[in-house]
């Protein structure tokens, strides 16, 4: 096998590669698509929480858009969003779209749990029902959305 072909093979199916060597190498385990998907979801939720903290702790200014850029938390949030986007795109190379979109519904629940745990927000029963309904709706939409995307 030529060097270029081997490279191609490696980038194309990491999943089988990982299975083949039993997840022996640490690097291939980190780049496992499902782990990257999980990282992406966690980073998305974390970015929302960082942004909320940043918006709450910054000094109040009428030029709030400008003063946003002096907040450490806001920048942490922005970098989390960028990181989540990269790991999302990376995961989509080998995970079926339908699975990825189904997992995106988990986002709503993770954000709700995070804002309850880290931000101390009191979530009423009514709000929990609403959040779960939205997550369920996103779950239902995953199938048509994936089909539409595959057509593109």
């Amino acid at each position: 096998m030529s060097n270029a072909a081997r490279k191609q093979n490696k980038s194309n199916n990491i999943l089988t590669e990982t299975v083949k060597n039993g997840g022996a190498s640490r690097k291939s385990r980190f780049f496992h698509p499902y782990l990257q998907l999980l990282i992406s979801i966690m980073l998305t939720a974390a970015s929302q929480i960082f942004l909320k903290i940043g918006v709450d702790t910054q000094f109040v200014s009428p030029w709030y858009t400008v003063s946003n850029f002096f907040s450490f938390w806001i920048w942490l949030g922005i970098f989390s969003i960028i990181g989540s986007l990269f790991s999302w795109l990376y995961a989509l190379k080998s995970v079926p779209l339908i699975v990825a979109y189904n997992l995106a519904a988990v986002n709503h629940i993770v954000v709700a749990l995070g804002s309850w745990f880290f931000l101390g927000e009191a979530i009423s029963y009514r709000r929990w029902i609403g959040i779960l309904l939205v997550a369920l709706g996103v779950f239902f939409i995953a199938r048509p959305a994936a089909r539409a995307e595959e057509k593109l």
Partner: protein, 86 residues
């Protein structure tokens, strides 16, 4: 041929620019909203972007709405109403 490819590349860049502009505007709007509302209250409303997207695809791109899509859209709207009332 060269002319054509250059213009399509330019158009793609323009689309990318518009997309980035829209994302920037939505980011700052989101920050302004986040200042006033709790995160657990605000985040479910983000599910509405799928509803808008589905209706835009239905009206503008004339795509068919499947049964699952309708169920999902109704569930999202219902959930948002619940959150809004909490």
């Amino acid at each position: 041929m060269a002319e054509h490819s250059r213009s399509s590349a330019f158009r793609r860049k323009l689309d990318l620019g518009r997309g980035i502009l829209a994302m920037t505007v939505s980011f700052f709007t989101w920050l302004a909203l986040l200042r006033q509302f709790e995160l657990s209250y605000l985040y479910p409303f983000e599910g509405l972007d799928r509803v808008l997207l589905a209706f835009a695809a239905w009206l503008i791109l004339k795509e068919k709405m499947s049964r699952d899509l309708w169920i999902g859209l109704i569930l999202i709207c219902l959930g948002t109403v619940f959150v809004a009332g909490s």
